[in-house]
């Protein structure tokens, strides 16, 4: 009986005009999202290469390593284009210095602020917003529609158990719709190599897992809509309830969780932190000012020797200030980061009430575009900072820190033309993405929650129908 109802459900779905329309719309959106993602990635890759080359050219024009301004950049990844996460919101460039705080700058939305308003239509948006809504639209009358039409009564005038009916209906709807969605998704995947995006096996695995979690997310909304339909008598009521639940789950809860966590943990904003750092920097400089005023060279010292002595004195003062400043920044940054982490943790945990948040967290974690992306980029940059400092120290005797520099150069008309530096000597910045295993392990909670939501909603729909008034 289950098989018969399952097949009927499949046929009914495929033959309905609702399916034809929604399948066409979803297919177009999915394929467009793959296409746009691929185009965005190619554009980002071209921009990345151009920026790196430009920086190299600028550096290569210098004759002194001390004059070099080196910028490192977060390399674009194909999955970043398909599941944006925070990749467009964080600064992609960092001007490197041998010591001190590193500041990521130049977000994607800086370049294209219009997308900050409307955002990109990536896979996360397609699944998270569009397909979940389609699931509601598709299944809101799955049970009560049959009741209103009279087919439910006719079905149960036969020797049909409620369990096999709802089981067949749930399985038929889920398989029918997910198989249908798989077609454009697979077409989208097949388009990637044709568009010039060649994923490695790790990235294919990630993409596969993202699509699987997307389909699980779609499935839970389908089960939710069927469940609501099995708890109400009229399709108009179940549609309204489904829509309200969807609005809360997809639009309200994720945002509300951030607001609530903001109330629960007060975190100073970046401006306050910057102002505090500036105050301390000025304080340190003010403390050094009398020492600078007291500087004096022994009587009869040559001016050039005085300058060298002064330069050494200033460097020592600067180094001491920098040490104090770094210690202060480290402490204040740590306090700030701890509070921010606590706030984020509360926000994330609260938001996990919503399946939409769970899917967003899972997919961005797998794609490598979760909140961890920023930390990872900064960690890579800090690691590179040490390498860069050692290199600069070797080349210049200094760590290549930004800030006050005094360079004395003498010129001699007879001297040969100055040699430029060889930028290839500079160690390359390498951004290491998290391994698939690590990403999967980090997303295990959210993937588990997605499965749990599925179980709860499928079970709920099942249980609701067992008590449903068939008349």
């Amino acid at each position: 009986m289950f098989k018969l109802i399952f097949i009927k459900e499949l046929k009914e779905i495929i033959q309905s005009s609702r399916f034809t329309i929604s399948f066409a719309v979803c297919s177009v959106l999915i394929i467009v999202s793959f296409f746009m993602g691929a185009q965005n990635y190619l554009a980002s890759q071209a921009q990345y290469e151009a920026t790196i080359q430009e920086n190299k050219n600028q550096m290569a024009a210098n004759s002194e390593w001390m004059m070099v301004q080196h910028t490192i950049m977060l390399p674009p990844q194909p999955l970043m284009a398909l599941v944006n996460g925070i990749s467009n919101d964080i600064g992609r460039n960092i001007e490197m210095s041998g010591r001190g705080e590193l500041r990521p700058e130049n977000t994607r939305f800086n370049d294209e602020p219009i997308f900050a308003i409307f955002r990109f239509m990536d896979l996360e948006f397609i699944f998270g917003v569009v397909l979940s809504l389609f699931a509601i639209i598709f299944a809101y009358d799955a049970i009560n529609g049959e009741k209103v039409n009279g087919t439910l009564k006719l079905c149960f005038s036969n020797s049909v158990s409620r369990a096999s009916f709802i089981g067949g209906k749930l399985a038929g709807s889920f398989i029918g719709l997910t198989v249908a969605l798989l077609i454009p998704l697979l077409i989208g995947c097949a388009m990637l190599p044709l568009l010039g995006i060649h994923l490695n096996s790790d990235q294919w695995l990630r993409l596969g897992l993202i699509l699987a979690s997307g389909l699980a997310y779609f499935g839970l909304f389908l089960a939710l809509a069927i469940g609501i339909s099995a708890m109400t008598d009229r399709p108009s009521n179940s549609f309204l309830i489904g829509l309200v639940v969807w609005i809360f789950a997809v639009l309200i809860m994720p945002r509300a969780s951030v607001l609530i966590s903001g109330r629960m943990v007060e975190v100073p904003n970046v401006d306050q932190i910057t102002a505090e750092k500036s105050r301390y920097r000025i304080q340190l400089f003010d403390e050094d000012r009398p020492k600078m005023a007291d500087f004096s060279a022994p009587e009869g010292t040559e001016p050039q020797a005085v300058m060298q002595e002064f330069s050494k004195f200033m460097r020592e003062l600067g180094d001491e200030r920098n040490r104090k400043m770094e210690a202060f920044e480290e402490r204040i940054n740590e306090e700030y980061l701890n509070k921010r982490r606590e706030q984020a943790k509360i926000a994330l945990n609260l938001s996990r009430i919503s399946p939409a948040s769970v899917f967003t967290l899972a997919s961005s974690q797998i794609a490598g575009t979760s909140l961890e992306l920023q930390n990872r980029f900064m960690d890579s940059a800090k690691d590179y900072q040490k390498i860069y400092a050692d290199f600069m120290n070797e080349k210049t005797g200094h760590t290549g820190s930004s800030g006050f520099r005094m360079i004395i150069s003498t010129s001699d008309d007879d001297e040969e033309e100055e040699k430029t530096i060889d930028v290839n000597e500079l160690p390359q910045f390498q951004y290491e993405t998290a391994s698939f295993t690590s990403s999967a392990a980090n997303s295990i909670l959210d993937l588990g929650l997605l499965m749990l939501f599925n179980l709860v909603f499928f079970g709920g729909a099942f249980a609701a129908f067992l008590k449903y008034d068939l008349r």
Partner: protein, 263 residues
């Protein structure tokens, strides 16, 4: 037919024993209903809205549980062993609504299989649909384009193909045009003649008198009158029905019923 039933003792295909249903809001929809439908009989339940006709059918289909009493289909308790009981019954509702995106053949195929019959071919379906008078051009058309009469024909074709001993009809001629109604009654008569036991709820007293072996009149859940076809020959059923429905006569005076003027 009545004579045959009297001479050959047969077990009832449909039987209600002291069937009572009181809803949660306190409304008594059925009060000690007793009725029997033997093979080869049509029992017509007459009654106004809320008389208890549909409640009776819903209890036989196990859509609701009786407060007390029992309903049997071919000797099987319909509420204790509903799946087993339903293998012995076919149901045609007032307004047969099949799956609108399926064709007539697809709908018939699905519901007949759901009824446990898996051995039919397309030609069997076509024969049944021809028998109920559906035009062959309509066999492969989607149900959403069908009139009510055409859908009713599909419904009765499904009941025929299910070939169960008992049939429940819930106001089957309601809303049909006279021609379609007459055709429907002819088909029911054929099924009766094949030995099916049919319980039919209806408002249509003329059809009931024409086809039914037994007529029961329900008022506020009480079976206020029950007549055989032979008894009805001497009674103006219309007057009887209207007066019962209007409450002019109460169940304490059943003898008056028999003395009503003839049609």
């Amino acid at each position: 037919m009545d004579t045959m039933n009297e001479t050959i003792k047969q077990a009832p295909l449909l039987e209600a024993r002291n069937l009572t249903k009181v809803y949660e809001d306190g409304v008594k929809a059925l009060d000690n209903l007793d009725l029997q439908v033997l093979p080869g009989e049509i029992y017509a339940m007459l009654g106004g809205n809320g008389a208890g006709k549909t409640t009776t059918i819903n209890i036989f289909l196990d859509f609701i549980q009786p407060t007390s009493g029992q309903a049997f289909i071919n000797g099987i308790n319909a509420n204790e062993e509903p799946l087993e009981a339903k293998t012995n019954i076919a149901f045609v509702s007032e307004n047969v609504q099949l799956y609108p995106n399926f064709t007539a053949i697809q709908n018939v195929d699905f519901f007949v299989r759901l009824g446990g019959r898996h051995n039919y071919s397309r030609s069997d379906y076509e024969t049944a649909l021809n028998r109920v008078g559906l035009q062959s051009q309509a066999f492969d058309k989607k149900l959403k384009d069908f009139s009510k009469g055409m859908r009713q024909k599909c419904g009765i074709a499904i009941a025929i193909l299910k070939d169960s001993p008992a049939i429940l009809l819930d106001e089957p001629t309601s809303g049909l045009d006279p021609k379609a109604g007459k055709e429907f009654i002819r088909l029911i008569g054929e099924l009766r003649d094949e030995g099916k036991g049919i319980l039919m709820s209806t408002h249509d007293i003329f059809r009931a008198k024409e086809i039914a072996n037994h007529v029961g009149i329900l008022n506020n859940g009480i079976l206020v009158a029950q007549k055989t076809q032979a008894e009805l020959k001497g009674v103006n059923l219309e007057t009887l029905y209207v007066e019962y429905m209007a409450g002019y006569m109460d169940e304490a005076e059943p003898s008056l019923v028999n003395n009503l003027s003839e049609a």
